[in-house]
């Protein structure tokens, strides 16, 4: 899963620590999410999105495997 956290945070001119405090997690958590090392659970994803005034889909982009897209292997088998 990809995310736009770093870009959105830069737009707001917030530090990682400030964003972490705003959503109630550690700075390490924000760093791990920004670096794509950790995918947050839904409650944190919603809190992050809400902090930027965005929807979850505007902040997090699901990197869908080809097999799960229409026309991919998974769908072809079902068809």
């Amino acid at each position: 899963m990809k995310n736009r956290l770093r870009v959105l945070r830069a737009e707001k001119n917030w530090t990682q620590a400030e964003l972490a405090e705003l959503v109630g997690v550690s700075r390490q958590a924000i760093m791990a999410v920004e670096n794509g090392k950790y995918d947050p659970a839904l409650p944190l994803a919603f809190r992050l999105a809400r902090a930027f005034g965005k929807t979850v889909e505007e902040v997090f982009v699901w990197d869908e495997p080809a097999s799960l897209t229409p026309g991919g292997q998974h769908f072809e088998k079902e068809g």
Binding site: K12, W14, E18, L19, E21, L22, V23, G24, V25, S26, Q28, A29, M31, A32, V33, N35, K37, Y38, P40, A41, L44, R47, R50, A51
Partner: protein, 136 residues
């Protein structure tokens, strides 16, 4: 705090480390005290049992504080600590297993069970460093 914003949640995420350290020191002092009393002659058997059980209450408080600290961690830190605990658990198992065989081979002396706790603490530290680096 971010300018012009109020936090979405206000709960403090981590137990103050000072509370844990104070209770840890207190529990350790009782552990050492109980050990010292048990090493002295002249006590009745039932008194010695009381001395042996003396460390339990303070250590139970310590366990409760640690569990509460873990529950107050955010989801990411819980993830890191879970990996650290898993690494510590498995490496301690491996160390005890290997030591047991070395003991059978008469290459080492019988294992003092107290050292298992030291192994666990050491491997927990190693596990934490590995897990924290992985998510950096």
């Amino acid at each position: 705090m971010c300018r012009g914003h109020t936090p979405l949640i206000t709960r403090n995420s981590i137990e103050p480390i000072s509370t844990l350290l104070i209770v840890l020191c207190f529990a350790t002092a009782i552990d050492i005290g109980a050990g010292w009393l048990l090493g002295r002659p002249g006590f009745e058997p039932h008194t010695r049992i009381v001395f042996a059980l003396l460390p339990i209450p303070a250590n139970l408080v310590l366990v409760g504080l640690i569990v509460r600290s873990i529950r107050n961690l955010d989801e990411f830190l819980r993830h890191v600590h879970l990996e650290a605990i898993a690494i510590a658990f498995l490496l301690t198992g491996l160390a005890v297993f290997v030591y047991g065989y070395l003991e059978k081979a008469r290459a080492v002396r019988a294992l003092n069970m107290g050292t298992v706790w030291i192994f666990m603490t050491l491997f927990y530290g190693i596990g934490y460093v590995i897990a924290a680096r992985h998510y950096r």
